[in-house]
Symmetry: C2
Subunit: 411 residues, 2 copies
């Protein structure tokens, strides 16, 4: 596949999109970045552009998956109950003080596949709970933040297992650059047009004031009641007044379910990769908003572990609609990476609801948000339930049904 732009130019454009469209740091704002060590070239470009945009200080916390694996291979059993509280606590402090936050993902979806499940479970419990706790200002949209991905060799090999490493990495970059609109003549202009289209679509859904959306397909008949005063969002505004884009790429229109008004059964349509472990073919039953049955053909133990996090982990915090015509869905690839897979299919998330999905939500107290049905939890985990075989209807308060998606496409 020939390109107008070199890899270096495309990476530079991706960094520009990450800063100008994604993060949008304001002059004088600090930036905290989390990145896999392989993403160093992108980290440097983002660092440069964030400083040029006026960031006062850019600090990157690199993580090394090989070192993480060495822990599983060499550390004593007690290690897996330990977590660097001092580091997550420091990060939490930075975010509470108003730092913008940027995450680069690119994890090996199979990193921990062969490791002791008990150690993996304890590692997840301690490490990811500490990480999620540090991210509270993100979940409550206090500050501007964004997530994008870097094509690491391990991730690329999981997506393209039959290709040589360099071929796989090249293909994954092609998919990332295309989905992130950096191959267009003017990526920033392309993104502005895309955000306008998402905003117009959200406006349409908001004017309908649906009481619920219903998903129907193989193994799925789920009615997701929506929170009172819910808002469908395609563009996002943080409490600090900054308009930003939480995901690069993004194709979703998302809102907050009512935590107590979800009924029926649902089956996942893509695997969920959670911190180096795959959870596949999830099936769940909801009653009164609560997950009363949960299973998975692979990774069921980890799924049950996740649901034990807190009561909010057993309720939905997000429902999002993504058409099959989205550039990522059209690639027909399975990315084993939530950022990509969730922007290729309609999805729900267990856990924390995002306050901007309630009208005036960032100004409301936790109790006020709770009264409107917005869910509260330490975690927020998206998983995919849309496919060309799943239909979606909007259901009004009077019971009127409006077809929204047929065969995975907007009606």
């Amino acid at each position: 596949m020939a390109h107008t732009f070199s890899h270096e130019q495309r990476l530079d454009r991706l960094a520009e999109v990450a800063v100008q469209i994604g993060l949008c740091p304001v002059p004088g704002q600090e930036v905290v970045m989390n990145a896999p060590i392989e993403a160093l070239p992108l980290v440097r470009l983002i660092t440069e552009k964030a400083y040029k945009a006026g960031a006062s200080l850019v600090t990157t916390l690199f993580h090394d998956e090989a070192s993480r694996l060495l822990r599983f291979q060499c550390a004593r059993n007690e290690s897996f109950d330990r977590v660097a509280e001092w580091l997550y606590g420091g990060m939490a402090k930075a975010l509470r003080n108003g730092s913008a936050w940027l995450l680069i993902t690119g994890d090996d979806p199979l990193l921990l596949a062969g490791q002791d499940p008990d150690k993996v479970a304890r590692f997840n419990r301690t490490t990811w709970q500490a990480f999620m706790a540090a991210l509270r200002p993100i979940f409550s949209f206090e500050i501007n933040w964004t997530i994008l991905s870097y094509a690491t060799p391990a991730w690329a090999q999981a997506v393209f297992p039959n290709d040589a490493e360099n071929v796989a990495v090249g293909k994954l970059w092609d998919a990332i650059f295309a989905a992130s609109r950096v191959d267009t003549a003017d990526p920033i202009a392309a993104w502005r047009a895309h955000k306008d289209a998402l905003a117009a679509h959200a406006k349409f859904l908001n004017e309908k004031r649906f009481a619920a959306v219903r998903f129907r397909g193989p193994g799925t008949d789920l009615r997701v009641g929506l929170a009172d005063d819910h808002q469908w969002l395609g563009v996002w505004l943080a409490k600090n007044g900054v308009s930003f884009t939480p995901n690069i790429p993004t194709e979703e229109l998302a809102t907050a379910p009512h935590k107590d008004r979800v009924e029926g059964v649902v089956r996942s349509t893509k695997p969920l990769c959670y911190q180096g472990t795959l959870i596949e073919r999830i099936s769940m039953r909801f009653a009164g908003g609560r997950i009363v049955e949960a299973n998975a053909e692979k990774g069921a133990d980890l799924l049950r572990e996740i649901l034990e996090t807190d009561e909010g982990a057993r309720h939905l915090g997000e429902v999002a609609l993504v058409p099959e015509s989205s550039p990522i869905a059209k690639s027909e690839l399975l990315f084993y990476n939530t950022l990509y897979d969730e922007n290729a299919a309609s999805h729900v998330a267990i856990g924390q609801a995002y306050s901007p999905c309630i009208a005036n939500g960032t100004a409301l107290s936790p109790a006020e948000l709770d009264a409107k049905g917005a869910n509260h939890s330490l975690l927020h985990i998206d998983w995919m339930i849309g496919s060309p075989n799943v239909d979606v209807d909007g259901i009004s308060a009077d019971g009127t049904t409006t077809p929204l998606m047929r065969a995975g496409e907007w009606v």
Copy 2:
């Protein structure tokens, strides 16, 4: 130069020395590592060996000099008064809670050479003061810690400016591996023998109970009074009971000067590389222990800035004797790296005194240490005053003079 061992084997042996001789983590102890991102291969080996030695958790904070330079090139002026307090505060918390600490150095000694001196000064003041403050448990020897180096390309090119990068890196690794005794048949045994020799030499000096040491050479006639109950140390014991080796390599015998009993003039014999800036041909005059005149032919502004840190920055906190026959000195290289240059020449340090250099010092309060003449400061910066042209005498309380070093060599 042919070697018995491959680069990978030598790096593995260096990691083994760093963990078994340098850091000596105890089972269940956390480890915090600071490293340049280029040192990743060594970081992974040390991580593996630290876990095998029983470390509960190994966390590495990587720093990227290219990102640091981008800050100088792109950030707004106000950036240089900012520091990631949240990160240094987190690190300080880990060390206060008993983590072992390992630092890998390999900085480009010329990184900030072309940058605005005002920004460099403000950067040093904020960043390095925050770093030094986090290192208080190190300076007071609460915990076991060690420093070693990694041959980064930028550092290697500074040491071997006339060689191609790969040749320079190879030569620097040869020097590092030789000085770190990893080319011997059994590096751990070689280190134990070396530490025994240093301990025996320290015992000799301690039995002499000198009141002062005197350095004489071109531009130097300095009498360094020693602290009451001073101890010369070649091997070190932390307050947590762990015997460790703070520097890999190490050739010095060090003790604490009396902060108020240093008199005369002194000239540096090697450049001091301080965080990307060189300070060359330092000359100082001491009266009553205090630096009353200070100059440098290059980097004088930064030197004056350093001396303004606090009152303790104007007094000595360490004096150390290193023979010209040390393997590092014999290499006749100028490393622009304190770890290497200070182990190739006798030196002094301005700033904080190390409490183990006072008998029973780690058990004494700051006030008790002060009463014995041990200096106190936020910083500790070594600089070299020894050379083949500098003689050293021990001076007893009764005025008797004992020649210690002639032409840079032990008498």
